[in-house]
């Protein structure tokens, strides 16, 4: 024990001063990188639009030269690529922020909505909505699917998060082992439910459900972006409200209370936020794992763990990573598209293992 602490203590430390400096640059820098990533994403794809044609296509310059090429570019950009990039960025932001909030709530850097079944809970509810609105009520409810899916996914995520918290915390303490194992069990249950839906679904429904399970941004439209935007705005506003409470929660529920935090209210707000953010993201993109783990982890290394900065920075870095991954997903095997969930898992799972290895030395799980 004492040996482990000795070596940990001697590990070179980043100065808080350096941390504070990088912290003040973090938001502008992330905004700039997000803009650059978005520009690259705009130009790349099945129909390439070189940078030189981008201003015209966006309608910034030379509207007189309304030639066929510009018209085609405009169509591609405004009806396909821009809504997709916007939706992807928001999904990434929501997933990363939901991960950061969940980690704060459970005081554990390994918590992730996708890992512990919150995303699958949302996916199960969404898949149920697809199958049942189709078969039971026929056309009467199908037109509602766009509105119904996010709500169903939110309800599914809320139920799983609440169950998870109920199981893993007892008298103010959260057991990490029970939390992760309960997540495994909940994932298994929701997967069984999804399996059942796959079994009874018809071909068209099956295609829709499969899309949820692998995760993809290919169905992104302006309507879907419009569903994401208010949740992101409300979420960001709420983040400033819960940031200090999440900081103090690192001391444990009793000591956060001693420090003046209304712990019960903080937990309720956090659970609803994680569920809403995850649920709505899942209803648009399907289950995409590891964004919620990788992004906050990387940021904590650079800007520190204080949530006032960590939460908005997570939204930005999540957006950057998702837009980058989605651009890769739609170019790597062009003209086909790789499901983005495969890419995020391929990058995220090793990072997850890396955190596990680091944690092993510090605290016993």
């Amino acid at each position: 024990m004492s040996v482990a602490i000795e070596t940990e203590a001697r590990r070179p430390q980043r100065h808080a001063g350096a941390r504070r400096r990088s912290a003040s640059f973090a938001i502008p820098l992330l905004l700039a990188v997000l803009a650059a990533t978005a520009v690259i994403a705009l130009t790349v794809g099945a129909a390439g639009i070189p940078l030189s044609r981008l201003p015209a296509a966006l309608g910034f310059a030379g509207t007189t030269t309304a030639d066929a090429m510009t018209a085609r570019d405009q169509l591609v950009l405004w009806s396909i690529r821009i809504p997709r990039i916007a939706a992807t960025a928001m999904v990434g932001g929501l997933l990363a922020a939901a991960g950061a909030i969940m980690q704060g709530l459970f005081r554990n850097p390994l918590a992730d909505p996708a890992l512990v079944g919150v995303s699958s809970g949302g996916a199960l509810a969404a898949a149920s909505a697809i199958v049942f609105t189709d078969s039971r009520f026929g056309e009467t409810l199908r037109f509602l699917q766009t509105e119904l899916l996010p709500l169903a996914a939110f309800a599914g995520s809320l139920a799983t998060t609440a169950i998870l918290y109920g199981i893993s915390s007892r008298s103010g303490r959260t057991s990490i082992a029970i939390f992760l194992l309960a997540g495994v069990a909940i994932t298994a249950i929701t997967n069984a439910g999804i399996g059942l839906l796959v079994f009874i679904a018809d071909d068209r429904q099956l295609r829709d459900i499969t899309f949820w399970l692998l995760g993809s941004m290919s169905g992104a439209t302006w309507t879907k972006a419009a569903v994401l935007a208010p949740i992101l705005v409300i979420g960001l506003a709420a983040c400033t409200f819960i940031a200090r409470g999440l900081d103090l929660l690192v001391l444990g529920e009793a000591d956060a209370f001693h420090g003046g935090v209304d712990v019960e209210r903080l937990k309720r707000i956090s659970i609803v936020m994680v569920s809403a953010m995850t649920g709505v993201a899942v209803s648009i993109s399907g289950v995409i794992g590891f964004v919620g783990i990788v992004v906050p982890h990387l940021l904590r290394l650079v800007i520190g763990p204080a949530h006032r900065l960590l939460l908005p920075a997570s939204v930005l870095l999540g957006a950057i990573l998702m837009v980058g991954a989605d651009t890769l997903a739609r170019t790597i095997v062009a003209p086909a598209e790789m499901p983005i969930g495969i890419l995020t898992a391929a990058v995220g799972a090793p990072v997850f293992l890396g955190i596990l290895l680091r944690q092993r030395g510090l605290a016993s799980l």
Binding site: A254, H258, G259, R300
Partner: protein, 268 residues
């Protein structure tokens, strides 16, 4: 002296077990009280009831003449500060960030002087930029003590003398830092703070507090000045050990002897 905290006939049940049974206690501003007693006597339960963290099954706790349940967590934090045992911080907060948490909504600039003073007082000024999880258990405990001191100072600046609760604050500290902590707490009491601490080291408790409260089996076994409470008989009855009690400059000093001797003298 004005009463800071008053507990009336406190009982706490968990299932069928009685953790605490009809304990009454009043502590005035500037008073220092040590709670002693064997494991499972209800010491931590009593402290958690006094902090407002637990609600009593029976009885009531009044903090500054008001029912403790009527305060919001924030109001409560401005009137009492508590140092718990075993706080395990998982995220890489620096010592300074942890201590600043005691300052509530105040900005680092506003609370800077208080944070500096508290870090100096616990001897961690040179560790302020280190990440807390990388420090030793005793250093972490001192950092949390500094955080609690900042919270107390912020609250007292607005609401006058408050309540400082310490749950085995010296459990991971070496001898020197045990004394430092005790002296820091005594300085707060000299400034009007009511201080209540659970201590296991009898001799430290005697040096720390003018008044000792002894709990045994969830009941109040003794409550009084140290010279009255610390006797050969009380120690034998409560802790089931035989101890020699010396007096040095009017302060009792306990030297534990063999356990078997106590068991024999109890039986006879």
């Amino acid at each position: 002296m004005s009463t800071v905290i008053e507990a009336r006939h406190l009982s706490k049940r968990a299932g069928r077990a009685r953790l605490l049974d009809g304990v009454s206690l009043t502590v005035a501003a500037g008073e220092i009280v040590a709670i002693i007693g064997p494991n499972g006597a209800g010491k931590s339960t009593l402290l958690r009831l006094l902090s407002g963290d637990l609600r009593p099954s029976e009885g009531e706790v009044r903090l500054k003449q008001r029912d403790i349940g009527s305060y919001t967590p924030r109001e409560l934090a401005a009137r009492r500060a508590m140092l718990s045992q075993h706080i395990n911080v998982t995220f890489p907060f620096t010592v300074e960030e942890i201590v600043l948490m005691g300052a509530g909504d105040r900005s680092p600039r506003e609370a800077g002087a208080l944070v500096d003073a508290a870090l100096d007082e616990v001897g961690l000024a040179h560790f302020r930029e280190r990440q807390l999880p990388t420090l030793s258990g005793g250093e972490q405990q001192r950092a949390h003590f500094a955080r609690v001191l900042v919270q107390l100072a912020c609250g007292e600046a607005e609401h006058g003398p408050g309540l400082l609760l310490l749950d085995e604050p010296t459990s991971s500290l070496d001898l020197r830092h045990q004394i430092d902590l005790v002296e820091a707490a005594r300085r707060r009491a000299a400034g009007g703070t009511a201080v209540i601490a659970i201590l296991h080291d009898l001799n430290l408790a005697i040096r720390f507090a003018d008044r000792l409260v002894v709990l045994n089996g969830g009941k109040l076994a003794a409550d009084g000045p140290r010279t009255e409470v610390v006797t050969h008989e009380t120690i034998r009855d409560i802790f089931e050990i035989d101890a020699v009690v010396h007096q040095a400059d009017g302060v009792p000093y306990v030297l534990p002897q063999s356990m078997r001797a106590a068991a024999r003298s109890n039986a006879s």
